[in-house]
């Protein structure tokens, strides 16, 4: 629901665009010390017995520079609800040295039950996050539409799925090419729901679109919603306020639960990114005339 409202804002921005002009300019930007980024979205296909967990780590850079990979001291993933889960936790291994991509293959059951705990050790600080597997529903139908929103070149994709009426659901859709959409079932609880997504980019006939639906919890839904907004171009009166989107990693270096229970004394020491484990259903669609 919320996503659609944000969609409205974008549409209004387009109306303004029609009388305005946009130009790429040079701007001097303030900078700060690099900060760790942890991209740990684990997409699980429950039909598979094994799931490869991949975590990408990098460091922030000034907006006009490239983002360098980070080199970790260690990264481990534990299931806290398994007996002895905290002892000798499984370690993720960097795929190629310097890539910043760490992975390991797990039993799918290891990931879908209980509370998972990810610990990242970097430059003598350690960052931790927990996540639980969130289920979802499959896509019922995926077809290309011939509707247009702004432009003749728009490609419309019509997605149909049936919401579960047993729980409050939050969904994340990956429409490929870095296009994401979040929605919650507040206004279609338990219904079969159909909506259209319009691609901004010019798609060619024969392009394959990998589209997936993922189940997310409310916190991750909010995170992705903000991330999408901050990454989108919008401007003018409908501009969303700029903000730093904080994820779920806690800098636990100084928390000893004895003298220090929180991070109030070191408010600027945090990592960006998110750790989430989601169920994913994938469909593909080949773009037609």
């Amino acid at each position: 629901m919320k996503k659609y409202c944000n969609g409205i804002l974008i549409i209004m921005s387009f109306i303004l665009l029609m009388v305005s002009c946009q130009e790429v300019i040079d701007v001097d930007l303030p900078t700060e010390e690099p900060r760790l980024i942890i991209d740990a979205l684990v997409r699980v296909d429950t039909n598979e017995a094994f799931t490869k967990v991949t975590v990408k780590v990098s460091e922030t850079s000034s907006f006009f520079e490239s983002i360098p990979a980070a080199n970790l001291q260690q990264i481990t993933l534990t299931n806290l609800d398994l007996p002895g889960g905290g002892i000798n936790p499984p370690v993720l291994i960097e795929e190629t040295p310097g890539s910043g991509i760490y992975s390991k293959v797990f039993d799918t059951d290891f990931l879908t039950q209980g509370s998972l705990f990810l610990q990242v050790d970097f430059e003598d600080e350690f960052y931790v996050a927990t996540a639980r597997f969130v289920p979802t529903v499959p896509i019922d139908n995926l077809v290309q539409g011939d509707g247009i929103l702004f432009d003749e070149d728009d490609t419309e994709v019509i997605v149909t799925f049936t919401d579960s009426d047993e729980r409050d659901d939050f969904y994340l859709f990956d429409f490929d090419f870095g296009n994401y959409l979040v929605t919650e079932d507040e206004f279609y609880q338990g219904q079969q729901f159909e909506f259209s997504y319009f691609y901004d980019e010019a798609l060619a006939v024969g392009d394959t679109l990998n589209i997936s639906i993922m189940g997310v919890d409310e916190d991750f839904y909010t995170y992705m919603d903000q991330l999408i907004l901050q990454s989108e171009e919008d401007f003018g009166p409908f501009e969303t306020p700029a903000l730093t989107v904080r994820g779920n990693f806690i800098n636990a270096t100084n928390i000893d639960n004895n003298n220090n229970f929180d991070n109030l004394n070191d408010i600027n020491n945090f990592a960006l990114g998110y750790f989430a484990i989601v169920q994913e259903y994938k469909e593909t669609l080949v773009v037609q005339e």
């Binding site: 009388v19 300019i25 079969q192 009166p237 109030l264 990114g273």
Partner: protein
């Protein structure tokens, strides 16, 4: 209430009543149209005293027995001197004729726009309909809101942004009154135009401080607009054809000199933006003003007025958006005696916002309705004492929206977001008192009382705290409700009472020099939920209640006023300091749209603003105009509520989006001859505070900029120059059909002012870039105006 007024009366009337006194009262009208005139100076030269006609053209002055050469004067009107032998109470209605030899030969004694030296009222600016029409604006549409932006202390968030900001205040802190009725959204087309039809306007007054106690409910300013009543002598039609919109206004007598009507319409051309897109879009607005007035007799006068305006956007029928104001207003002026004038207003107003999204299959209708009753009395006790008092009650219904499926196949379920109900009552006394020849004071008190009634569902939170702080991630987030109560509409969720004292005083050194000081306290019970840089029609108003406290303002202002060189020039300069409690602030990532539990994403903060304003004006001659300069600061902060939190923005002060350090406006009007006149304005403003990213990160292929502290950088400075030339053809003379051409150029030197700078990844190249959006470059336009 009455008792307070009465005891004040007793107290004050003990001041010197030794000589036999009589009252001269009446109404001042325009000869040609029968329209009442606001702000006419009624001067008694023999006693060096005077009065001013009120919003309904009525004046009353009590003087010792004697013979006086009473002078009636007003801008653009020929001054009339009437010799009156005051040996009894006299009712004298006066007609003034429009000064056709305008501004050339006749020295205008009183200019409504000029600073009033003696009156304690300060921080007020008046614009005549004439000035508003002369100021060049984009696409040639004369515009009230765009005109007041040229005054000191008034800014907005830039082009194509609705609303305006007064003395560092937010746009929701302006009380906008159209014929005494509150207007919630003052813009068409997201701020390109204001909703007021310039042809129907009689008088515009902006109070920035020293706000008299008869006004309340908004902290920063009062923009009071009075519309014409309609020509009671003969049928007149005028109109204009412009680049974006056309307008037509008809007025005339129903019963000559007794009843008149006015109907005005304005519409923009549909499919305004169509040429730019080869698909079925439309974007247009229209508005309709109607007014009927009936002078029953000398003592009673009634008005019925209506306003209806709508904006409509449609894209391919898959997106349809309609919004606008509607209001009906009945007023009754009753003159109890020569000294006691009253007005009763009964107002219903409605703001509607509707949206249909076909590609999602839903429809959304929201709005605010309010029912407003006002009863105001003006008691003209003597030439030295006037007491105004009255009561006001407003009942509000807020509908945040009803969501419905727009077709039978849609999966959307019907849902009514929770409606909110509230009542605002106020009673006031306002005394205008001349203590000595040099010292005048205006003081008053407003008692306001606000009740937030029950609603269908209300969340209950642990420790009554709807916003939690995460001490590890250091972010605020919504608290989970522990229960949902159902107070029902009869219950009261919260009530607030505030006493709002207001004092202004002026000390006059001589007829041309004075100093003034004022203190104002105002409570505001409604809040516009908006975390964008300027309001959008989608923004929802929310009443104060159990989690949202009323905003409270204390404003102090001090000013110096001087007429110079035979009153050809005036200088007004003021300093002000404002302190606002309970200014709502939004936690990072707050979602305000369709949110039933807004308390989960807001915190009560505080705001402050201070500054210096300077206005130098040339009032007479072929060249008229002004230079306005404002130096100011506007900030807000939301500190931690306890030691376990850090507050929003780490609890530090940060610039509000409308903090403009320097604001310069120059306006000039030059009358070359009877055929040609020229207008020009220049505006310079410090760039709007904004955020530039201090870095970037990547997540699942998305490139996301991230930011430091709030509003710590600024857009580039804003400036532009506009010019306009008005051609009045010579053949107009001696014929009925009067016409003029207005040629204007907005942003003459084509400055690309930044409406915003956005940081994004280019979709084609994958390279990060900063993109500046400018709304208007140079915009020439032509408007044709006519009347007959």
């Amino acid at each position: 209430m009455k008792i307070v007024a009465f005891s004040l009366f007793v107290l004050l009337s003990t001041f010197g009543f030794s000589q036999q006194k009589y009252t001269l009262s009446g109404t001042v009208l325009e000869e040609e149209t029968g329209e009442t005139l606001i702000g006419v100076n009624v001067i008694i030269p023999e006693l060096r005293t005077g009065a001013i006609t009120n919003e309904y053209g009525f004046y009353s002055i009590t003087l010792p027995e004697g013979t006086y050469n009473v002078t009636y004067s007003s801008l653009g009107m020929e001054t009339r001197v009437v010799t009156i032998q005051l040996t009894d109470n006299i009712r004298r209605n006066i007609s003034l004729t429009a000064d056709t030899e305008q501004l050339d030969e006749v020295i205008i004694e009183a200019d409504v726009e000029r600073a009033s030296i003696k009156a304690p009222q300060m921080s007020v600016n008046t614009l005549s309909a004439e000035t508003i029409k002369n100021i060049p604006v984009v696409l040639g549409e004369a515009d009230v809101v765009k005109s007041i932006l040229l005054l000191p202390g008034v800014t907005n968030a830039g082009e194509a942004s609705s609303g305006f900001n007064v003395r560092g205040g937010a746009a929701d802190q302006n009380l906008i009154l159209l014929d005494e009725a509150t207007i919630f959204n003052s813009s068409h087309l997201f701020g390109f135009f204001s909703v007021f039809n310039p042809d129907a306007i009689k008088d515009v007054k902006l109070f920035k401080g020293g706000i008299p106690s008869r006004y309340g409910g908004r902290l920063s300013s009062v923009l009071e607009i009075f519309q014409k009543e309609g020509n009671s002598k003969e049928l007149k039609i005028n109109g204009g054809i412009g680049a974006v919109a056309s307008r037509l206004l008809a007025e005339g007598p129903i019963v000559k000199d007794k009843a008149a009507f006015l109907v005005g319409g304005r519409a923009s051309y549909a499919h305004l933006f169509l040429p730019l897109f080869n698909i079925d879009n439309s974007a247009y607005f229209y508005d309709l003003n109607t007014k009927i007035n009936y002078r029953i007799n000398e003592k009673n006068n009634i008005f019925l007025s209506g306003y209806f305006g709508r904006d409509l956007f449609s894209i391919n029928d898959s997106f349809v958006n309609v919004y606008g104001n509607a209001l009906v207003n009945f007023r009754w002026n009753h003159i109890f005696s020569d000294k006691l004038f009253s007005n009763l207003s009964v107002i219903y107003s409605d703001y509607y916002y509707g949206l249909e999204l076909d590609f999602v299959g839903f429809e959304w209708n929201s709005g605010i309705q309010n029912f407003n009753i006002k009863y105001d009395l003006k008691h003209y006790l003597s030439d030295k004492l006037q007491i105004n008092y009255g009561i006001n009650n407003i009942y509000y219904v807020f509908n945040p929206g009803k969501i419905q499926p727009n077709n039978p196949e849609s999966g959307i379920l019907e849902e009514q977001l929770i409606k909110k109900y509230a009542n605002e009552f106020a009673a006031y006394v306002d005394v205008e008192h001349t203590l000595t020849n040099k010292l005048r004071v205006q003081y008053g008190l407003r008692l306001s009382h606000f009740i937030r009634f029950g609603q269908d569902e209300l969340n209950v939170y642990e420790n009554n705290n709807p916003v939690e702080f995460d001490p590890f991630l250091l972010i605020y987030k919504a608290a989970e409700p522990i229960a949902v109560s159902n107070p029902g509409r009869s219950g009261r969720l919260a009530s607030y009472t505030n006493l709002e004292p207001r004092v202004s005083l002026s000390y006059t050194f001589n007829d041309d020099v004075s100093v003034k000081a004022s203190y104002t306290r105002i409570a505001q019970y409604l809040h516009l939920l908006s975390n964008t840089s300027s309001p959008t029609p989608l923004d929802v108003w929310t009443p104060s209640g159990p989690f949202v406290e009323p905003q409270l303002l204390d404003q102090y202002a001090f000013g110096f006023f001087k007429n110079m060189w035979d009153r050809e020039f005036t200088l007004e300069t003021e300093v002000f300091y404002k302190d606002i409690q309970n200014r709502i602030d939004y936690i990072d990532g707050a979602n305000l749209i369709a949110n039933n539990a807004i308390e989960q994403v807001i915190l009560n903060g505080e705001a402050r603003a201070y500054g210096w304003e300077f206005l130098f004006r040339k009032n007479t001659g072929d060249l008229q105009g002004w230079i306005a300069y404002t130096l100011s600061k506007s900030e807000q902060r939301t500190p931690a509520r306890n030691s376990e939190e850090i507050g929003i923005n780490n609890g530090q002060w940060y610039n509000t989006p409308y903090d403009k350090t320097h604001d310069i406006a120059l306006y000039g009007n030059y009358r070359l001859n009877e055929t040609w006149s020229f207008n020009s304005n220049f505006v310079f403003q410090t760039g709007q505070p904004t955020n530039f990213p201090i870095g970037q990160f990547e997540f699942q292929g998305l490139v996301i900029p991230y930011y430091g502290l709030r509003n710590s950088t600024r857009l580039p400075n804003y400036h532009r120059l506009d010019v306009a030339a008005t051609l009045t053809p010579r053949k107009n003379k001696g014929r009925n059909w009067q016409s003029e051409w207005v040629f204007s150029i907005y942003n003459v030197y084509n400055r690309m002012n930044s409406a915003s700078i956005n940081f994004r990844q280019n979709q084609d190249t994958g390279i990060n870039e900063a993109v500046r959006t400018s709304i208007f470059g140079i915009v020439p336009s032509v408007t044709y105006n006519f009347k007959f």
